[in-house]
């Protein structure tokens, strides 16, 4: 009779919860024992009508809400306080599943529209269900497919970034057959070590295993994870045949399946490597990673993908994805300084991978060389689709024969590289400041000579376009060459005030664009003819200012924000001026990025012309403040280099 008492003590409570859970999808698919233990972990809460339960972007979810009785509305509020109603949810509906699954704060505001009772299911328990119960993953993920629009939410919040309807449609339009990579397989009798060597040689995370007698017959798969868990961690002999650690039989999907369905299958089964089958044959493997990449939002994944490329043309589509990644960063609220850094990192990796592959294709260069990045690339301040500004510097040849050999090699090398860069979406430089121009593909001594001449005999006309050379940095190859050149340059400049005078004067030639606002007010009803060239009028004064002072004081940095910081650290400019200038500069960068992003999304070539009509009052005021900082910069330069 003691059993009766034990039941009595422990089993009664959840009856309320059990009958509730039994009545709603997908909990009705769970067995009695699971339900019982779930019920014991539930709590019940009550929210009077008009209670805000979740706040978008803010509330961290500690549990899933299941509405027992009552109702809520889901809505978004944009920066202007404008409310968009997204949904009403009533009895049996859930709240917060998406945020829990994605591990983010709430993506919607939730407020009760009636007195509402909810069952609360702890987050960990819900995640456990998603992982272990196929019906759960399927149910919650399937309903997300209709509203996978989390990025659309972002757009509403950051209304400056235009809405895009097909953001996630990749998942729904691309078939796995289009994504699948070359089939990599080993024979089942191969040793674990051979298989691992094969994987690292081809930089793949998994290998299919085929039958010893029949190469067409796939019997299993091994992954990086298997090597870690079943071999290294378990101390297994590397000479064992690979079939001892493989998983088999391999789960397959048809090549014509949509990526979205495949992703669902992966999430539902927890199997992240699936063999792709076409006409009864296995043609390769698709991984969750491949599909995630398709969404193109994660800089990390893009980076990894760039590094893994074995063919230069494979880099083309990856480079085209950079705006997509950057777009994600902007809508997540990253600051311009970080964004341009990210663009630089991604571009650098494209370049590095491409030139590495090109060296493999053409054979090693006859002399050490360094691919130089100039101008905005040199300053790590590119936005989208900036022109190419590059050059090659190579070690001084020992003799005439070597000189000839170097010229031939680097000419051909540059030709190919520039072509590939164009294919990646970096347009040619109209001024031909590129490595294909023989003038800008030279040995170290010639480069030193170029700079000596610019510094010693400054011709204002020539300086105007030569300034971008002063912002060079090593992009790929022997960076010691670039450093040598930088040291030489700084030594040359020391005390050459005439050169710096010209640079300073050149900077101050740009008029402060305050009239921009005046005209805007005057021409209220007319056509806005005076658009602001935010690069030339707004940003350049900061770039010039930082460059002049950096050169004057021998600061090696090329990035404008980094130069300003170094100037402040060296006490060459006041801390207060530094913070005002950095802020003003970064703010304008942000404006420019958002402007260009919108153009890209509208299918227009990005430019630097900002229409005042596109700006809010707040933005106009901030821009105006930024322009007044330019006045102060000119003041500093004017005192340093007065016109006598």
């Amino acid at each position: 009779m003691t059993t009766f008492r034990e039941n009595d003590v422990h089993a009664v409570a959840p009856e309320v919860a059990i009958s509730f859970l039994k009545g709603i999808m997908p909990f009705n698919t769970l067995n009695a024992n699971t339900l019982k233990s779930l019920a014991r972990h539930c709590r019940i809460d009550f929210f009077p009508k008009g209670t805000r339960i979740l706040t978008a972007d803010t509330t961290e979810l500690t549990h899933l809400f299941l509405i027992q009785q009552g109702g809520v509305k889901a809505f978004l509020e944009d920066d202007n306080g404008e409310v968009t109603l997204k949904d009403f949810r009533g009895e049996g509906a859930y709240i917060g599943a998406l945020a829990i699954i994605r591990g983010t704060p709430a993506n919607l505001n939730i407020e009760t529209v009636e007195d509402t009772f909810c069952f609360l299911l702890p987050r960990e328990i819900f995640l456990d269900l998603i992982e272990k119960q196929a019906s759960f993953a399927h149910y919650y993920l399937k309903s997300f497919s209709e509203k996978i629009v989390t990025t659309a939410y972002n757009e509403l919040r950051h209304h400056k970034v235009a809405r895009r309807s097909n953001e996630d449609l990749y998942l729904f339009s691309i078939k796995v057959g289009d994504l699948v990579k070359d089939l990599r397989k080993v024979v089942a009798s191969a040793t674990i070590q051979e298989a691992a060597a094969h994987m690292s040689e081809h930089r793949v995370g998994c290998l299919l295993v085929h039958d010893t007698a029949d190469a067409e017959k796939i019997v299993g798969i091994i992954t990086d994870r298997d090597l870690r868990r079943k071999v290294v961690a378990a101390g297994l002999d590397y000479q064992q045949p690979v079939q001892t650690i493989m998983s088999g039989p391999v789960q397959t999907v048809l090549s014509q399946s949509l990526c979205f369905d495949v992703l669902l299958k992966m999430m539902a089964t927890g199997v992240h490597h699936l063999a792709v089958e076409r006409a009864g044959r296995i043609i390769g493997v698709i991984t969750s990673h491949d599909i995630m990449l398709l969404q193109g939002h994660s800089p990390y994944y893009l980076l990894k993908e760039i590094r893994a490329q074995q063919q230069i043309p494979g880099l083309y589509p990856l480079a085209q994805k950079i705006p997509e990644v950057i777009r994600g960063l902007i809508s997540e609220g990253a600051k311009a300084g970080n964004i341009t850094q990210m663009i630089a990192i991604l571009n650098d990796h494209i370049l590095e991978r491409m030139l590495t592959l090109l060296e493999q294709e053409m054979g090693m260069p006859p002399l050490p060389y360094c691919w130089l990045l100039l101008g905005s690339e040199g300053r790590r301040e590119q936005t989208f689709k900036t022109d190419q500004d590059n050059a090659i510097i190579y070690a001084d040849p020992a003799d005439e024969a070597q000189k000839h050999k170097a010229e031939t090699y680097f000419k051909a090398f540059a030709d190919k590289a520039i072509d590939h860069l164009v294919n990646c979406g970096y347009p040619l430089c109209p001024g031909e400041v590129m490595a294909i121009n023989p003038r800008w593909c030279q040995p170290l001594s010639v480069w030193k000579h170029y700079f000596e001449r610019w510094i010693a005999e400054p011709d204002p006309q020539e300086l105007r376009y030569a300034t971008i050379f002063f912002d060079f940095r090593p992009g790929f190859g022997e960076s010691a060459l670039a450093e040598d050149l930088r040291t030489h340059l700084n030594r040359q400049i020391a005390g050459r005030d005439l050169f710096l005078f010209h640079l300073a004067r050149q900077c101050m030639e740009t008029r402060i664009p305050l009239s921009f606002f005046k005209n805007f007010i005057v021409e209220k009803d007319g056509e806005h003819k005076n658009r602001l060239d935010i690069k030339r009028q707004g940003l350049s004064p900061f770039v010039y200012f930082a460059r002049v002072l950096a050169l004057k004081y021998g600061v090696k940095e090329t990035n404008t924000l980094a130069r300003l910081k170094a100037l402040m650290d060296g006490e060459w400019i006041q801390r207060e001026l530094w913070s005002a200038a950095s802020e003003a500069y970064e703010l304008q960068m942000q404006q420019r990025l958002v402007h260009q992003l919108r153009q890209i999304e509208a299918g227009v070539l990005p430019d630097n012309y900002i229409d005042p009509a596109d700006l809010s009052d707040l933005e106009r005021r901030m821009l105006k403040d930024a322009f007044t900082v330019i006045e102060r910069l000119y003041g500093v330069l004017g005192q340093m280099y007065p016109v006598t």
């Binding site: 008492r5 409570a13 019940i44 009550f46």
Partner: protein, 233 residues
């Protein structure tokens, strides 16, 4: 320091350690903290009748409210073997069979367990004085002292809520209004349970309590003291 329950003289001289601990817990009870900081045990007892002298408790059901949420993992439900088992007429009403009662432990066993369960929580009940009357009578007899847990009556709260809604803060009660658990549940559109099991009644009361408490809180009553004031006639 075990008290020998079988030695009648010792009961009154020194109460059971549970009672002493219970007293200490509430000796400096502070009513001015925010509501969410208290824990509440919503309970219901089933009785063989309403006569304090003759009738007995035959089951106790209770559920814990922490952080203003009903915690379904912390519940209490026991049947109790009455001393006078032959005279138990409650079987039909309470859906407890005589066999169940015969198999159940005596109150001497269940009561200490309940006190442990309620520990430092407030006791909430629908007409809580009735339940507490029976519990305290048993506690005095078995443990040599009464419970010090403050009580909250959901009937008083409902009366207070009605006054707030109608705006008649000092007016006489309208006698036609019912305060039965069933009618209040209907009136406030609360989720309903099949009734007449002490545990389910406790759950039903917990819903009512949570409803009223949060309504009060939304209306600006933030501490326990505020709630007591609202319930005062």
């Amino acid at each position: 320091m075990m008290v020998n329950l079988l030695k009648p003289g010792s009961w009154f001289a020194s109460p059971h350690p549970l009672i002493i601990k219970n007293r200490e817990t509430f000796s400096r009870f502070d009513q001015s903290r925010p509501l969410a900081e208290y824990s509440f045990v919503v309970c219901d007892t089933e009785l063989t009748g309403f006569d304090q002298k003759k009738d007995e408790i035959i089951s106790i059901g209770a559920v814990m409210i922490r952080n203003l949420q009903i915690d379904l993992g912390t519940t209490f439900h026991r049947y109790i073997r009455p001393i006078n088992i032959e005279h138990t007429k409650a079987t039909l009403v309470h859906r407890i069979t005589p066999q169940q009662l015969a198999a159940a432990p005596p109150l001497e066993e269940v009561l200490p367990a309940f006190i442990e369960f309620a520990k430092n929580s407030l006791l909430v009940g629908h007409c809580v004085t009735l339940d507490m009357g029976f519990l305290n009578r048993a506690a005095r007899k078995i443990l040599g002292g009464t419970l010090s847990n403050p009580g909250i009556d959901t009937i008083r709260m409902a009366q207070g809520y009605r006054r707030v809604l109608s705006g008649h803060f000092h007016g006489e009660e309208d006698g036609s209004r019912s305060y039965s658990l069933e009618d209040l549940t209907k009136e406030y559109h609360l989720p309903t349970f099949k009734s007449h099991d002490a545990f389910e009644d406790a759950m039903q009361t917990a819903y009512l309590f949570l409803f009223l408490l949060k309504k009060f809180r939304k209306g600006g009553l933030l501490t326990l003291k505020d709630i007591y004031r609202a319930g005062r006639v």
